[in-house]
Point group: D2
Chain length 364, copies 4
Amino acid sequence: MNTFGKAFRITTFGESHGKAIGVTIDGCPAGVQFDLEEIQNELDRRKPGQSKITTQRKEADSVDVLSGVFEGVTTGTPIGLLIWNQDQRSKDYSHIKDVFRPSHADYTYHAKYGNRDYRGGGRSSARETAARVAGGAVAKQFLNSLGIKFNAYVSEVGDIKVSDDYTTLDFAEVEKNIVRCPDAEKAEAMIELIDQVRKDRDTIGGIVSCVISGVPAGLGEPVFDRLNAELGKAMLSINACKGFEYGSGFAGTKLRGSTHNDAFYADDAGKIRTKTNLSGGIQGGISNGEDIYFRTAFKPVATIMVDQDSIDKDGNEATVSGKGRHDPCVVPRAVPIVEAMSALTIADMVIRAKGNRLDQILDK
Amino acid sequence: MNTFGKAFRITTFGESHGKAIGVTIDGCPAGVQFDLEEIQNELDRRKPGQSKITTQRKEADSVDVLSGVFEGVTTGTPIGLLIWNQDQRSKDYSHIKDVFRPSHADYTYHAKYGNRDYRGGGRSSARETAARVAGGAVAKQFLNSLGIKFNAYVSEVGDIKVSDDYTTLDFAEVEKNIVRCPDAEKAEAMIELIDQVRKDRDTIGGIVSCVISGVPAGLGEPVFDRLNAELGKAMLSINACKGFEYGSGFAGTKLRGSTHNDAFYADDAGKIRTKTNLSGGIQGGISNGEDIYFRTAFKPVATIMVDQDSIDKDGNEATVSGKGRHDPCVVPRAVPIVEAMSALTIADMVIRAKGNRLDQILDK
Amino acid sequence: MNTFGKAFRITTFGESHGKAIGVTIDGCPAGVQFDLEEIQNELDRRKPGQSKITTQRKEADSVDVLSGVFEGVTTGTPIGLLIWNQDQRSKDYSHIKDVFRPSHADYTYHAKYGNRDYRGGGRSSARETAARVAGGAVAKQFLNSLGIKFNAYVSEVGDIKVSDDYTTLDFAEVEKNIVRCPDAEKAEAMIELIDQVRKDRDTIGGIVSCVISGVPAGLGEPVFDRLNAELGKAMLSINACKGFEYGSGFAGTKLRGSTHNDAFYADDAGKIRTKTNLSGGIQGGISNGEDIYFRTAFKPVATIMVDQDSIDKDGNEATVSGKGRHDPCVVPRAVPIVEAMSALTIADMVIRAKGNRLDQILDK
Amino acid sequence: MNTFGKAFRITTFGESHGKAIGVTIDGCPAGVQFDLEEIQNELDRRKPGQSKITTQRKEADSVDVLSGVFEGVTTGTPIGLLIWNQDQRSKDYSHIKDVFRPSHADYTYHAKYGNRDYRGGGRSSARETAARVAGGAVAKQFLNSLGIKFNAYVSEVGDIKVSDDYTTLDFAEVEKNIVRCPDAEKAEAMIELIDQVRKDRDTIGGIVSCVISGVPAGLGEPVFDRLNAELGKAMLSINACKGFEYGSGFAGTKLRGSTHNDAFYADDAGKIRTKTNLSGGIQGGISNGEDIYFRTAFKPVATIMVDQDSIDKDGNEATVSGKGRHDPCVVPRAVPIVEAMSALTIADMVIRAKGNRLDQILDK
């Protein structure tokens, strides 16, 4: 459904071409400093029309705060955020009213709901993720006050990839180029490739990696609500996401245990650490205090600017051709979405975990 | 926590060396034919000591039905299943009472809970998955009555892999070899590799793929409870699982949209189908009626038979060495677990979409 | 938290003096005819300033539809409804910034959250119930298509009460008088009493009864989510509600089983019915097809127009006196709220039992 | 369904005449001293055959601990508790295989599930509450470590009632008489009445009141999960419970606000208190630190020892007569059940609340 999280949760609504989209943030602790500018900044990182390699469609995506904040601080009551839709152009979409676009959700929504808002994909449009970014920005503000930081970045576009060792990357680079890649040289190549794909009226996929630092040990709720399982669900709930791996991931399956195990040691401060981090900061479904590291796969955008064969809802053959303005590659705009869903997942786990240890409860 | 699913749900309990493990299945429709032998058969596929390439530890894993079934049929009330623990050998584990085994959950459970049952990993042991398999076997019986079938198999061990095109594989082969690989030749090589790894007192990882057939279009609850997101969470909640991808997965990120899109067509019966299935049977988070196809990555087992450096809970250096009897490779036994978690996920989605009474579900 | 329901659910936000209040309705089946006028009509029944026996505060409470409806029909996606706040008069409330008003939530919100929006009670204000009424109005539209009807009414104000036998009452009378009592004569007396109480600058409590007809047998999810338990929670979640009883309720405890049991019979159509209905339409936590009947107790409004002793947040003595415009008796405006929460509860149970697609629900 | 609670939760299973009933307690903090004798003691207060005014049926109700406890302390993992069924006498029940007993759940279970375990009411039997008492006993042990205490007692049987002012009652009396009434004289009269009713082969209802002391201010999760709403749901989920009221309850509706309001004051220790407690310890859905006080109505047991007219599942007329051994009045055995459900509700709220305030999280 449209609620994510159990203790720190968001509920979203809104279609691509409806009046507005919105998010209600419930369970955010009282007393968090609320920085609206910071939320708008996150929305700007996601919004369309931000560069030549994204869709040229324009949306201001300016956010309205309707509740839950008083005198600049959260009150512990639900925070209502609203984003009005501006650029709708419904006429652009009339041509796909009854046709199922290949690898879009047109057919499955038709099969599930019987009727649908076909304008721009309606609820299945990635426009919905703007509400997630707004909610995630609030989660970030809560978590930043705990010293937890999020660094997502584009690590692959097509065949171009950055180093697998994230410790060699400079996250300060990410916002310095339009593809959000921490390697300036690779960024250039990625932008060139995406631009070529766009000229070919085609699209291409890529990978967004994410590093979360400052996460205390002890987050995650085994056996089912493991931190990695909740992060995986969060990422796979994002449009176009086809895969999730953390730590050594799929490549780790080829290793032997003697190579894969992360040896423990106590640092000078006596803090328990691991010498390597193939575990990606999570062991037994619980954070171990190391950086959390994972990768998410995004397929090429389904809307391409060339004619494709398809059928309509009565099974008649039809031709579909992308109209309007679309992204040749989704990953640059997916970076803030990955961070938002990560922040929402960690925030939920913090609230759930800080309440479930007796000695800590008694401390209060 | 220890409940999985919203409408068709299981709640499990039990430690590796406690008295027993168990599962309560809640939300199973009334009127499902209950086949205890079939449940036991699934448990036997998971149980230790089944072949030379699994741990030699012995557990009968025979299951007791305590409630929810009357005159051979489910009643719609919770089904309580119990599995007594037999082979405990606590003495084997005293040596790791205060030591954190590398890449195990010893440290994270210590960090989260303060105290833990250290015997055999306690709750973090893969023994817990037996309860999932028992619950999943009930979900399978419900879903089989709807014509939904599950085929998981070992597709990779180390560098040995079967064809990426699952339609060329013979699932009838899977139970004919001890590694549960549908390619007899590759199975031989995998067994040899695992046996060599075992002799090296080491371990190795692998990949379990899964094909679910007969799933009707329309299952999945966007925007957050997408079918792929729930499947991903289910798989990532399994011990040692490091990654999940469906359809084209990570490889699909390298393709262009024009190649990646699945074209629709109407078959002779007028049913809407896709010519290719890079979507893996799921579009927009909802099943489209094609086979559901996904892959899950399992890391090498953390327990190896050689000495490893580690520390104890006070930060003192210590040496850990695997004792007892452990799996050199987990994937052969992971196959029924992957099927069980798949069945539980699909069953939950069926009930959420179609309600909780079998005769009415069958009517549709 | 701020979400009610599991399968058909609402999430609300908004403070008494914030910018707006809103509700997101999730899980409403696709294909329900959406009648905005009907929703506005329900809000008008709840809104302030509607008669001389309610607060004279003015709020238009006009509702905006932001999503989830397309071409006059629900799409199965979340329905976002927004109500802007107009009449705020924040200055009216500055005097209670640091003082805890007797029997209000000022102190408990302070104790729980540390900081609060003190203006008009903020989130603890009954203003929040407008969002429930909007959501409940959508649930009603869904349930009316199943033939389920809701009749709530004022059965007691102070010592004035209508007949305990609801079958003797004329529900058509309810909207014909400002106190919403089905007995015209009693209505007169109630109005007089409330008017006298208002002149005394005091307040008084009352009871709202509710009859739900057309509910099919089989709704309710034992053992914990019994229909009566969920209805009870729904009512007790309404501001000022102090009690809930269904069927024979508290009075039934004085009876003997031989008098209390409802005898079964088969009517001419062969439908299984009960001769009496002390069960209130619910047996074993599941609807039995008879009218569902329950009563809810509402305490006198805490805000009175006379001086009261209290303390401020530092423990200093202080005097509180009601300012602004308040309700001398809450029950006339509580009637639509009771109906809304009833509709939300029944809608949730219908979806849980029968699934989430209207045409399939109607098939049954 | 069969899970109660969100953060501290129990999941139960088991039919009256199945092999066993059980409960899984999930979310209990690690480090709670586990006293099995205390759990057994609670079960003994509920078990049948304990006195001449309860059913003479015998059940040992001895509890088995299967998991979640290590070296006498909880580990934070799920606690599995099992109670084997002994005294089944299935033959006693064959006569009601196809007949619907008046005011039992036979018909509604038939209508909902299509088939049912008719032996002794199957899942709808009050036997199920033994699992709740076992789970509640664990919640009590957790809460006792926080200084929270539960005192439930029989306040009314038929027309015999104790003082409405619970502060005048001596809770030490409760376990000194078989009806569990804190007023020795009234206890005598109640026992006499119940005994007379039993001789008449009839049954009678009553009221169980409950006082919870030591509850800190701040528990409860508005707007829907108010503490009073969750307590109400908990009580109404108990078999035969027809009503719930807290604080002034239904009687309070007759009062005026000037009489009903609880004035605040600061005690010598500077703690904020109220001079009266018509609020029942809960304001705005959140505990205010005063005693929590509520009353629950229980109908007369449906099984009476005289012939009653009814019908079978085909609509044919039939005669039903109570066989076996049943309770003439349920309230003496309901006392520990009310305490158990209260403890489960408060425990859930403690876990949920201790995690949702930023300054407290930062304190750790």
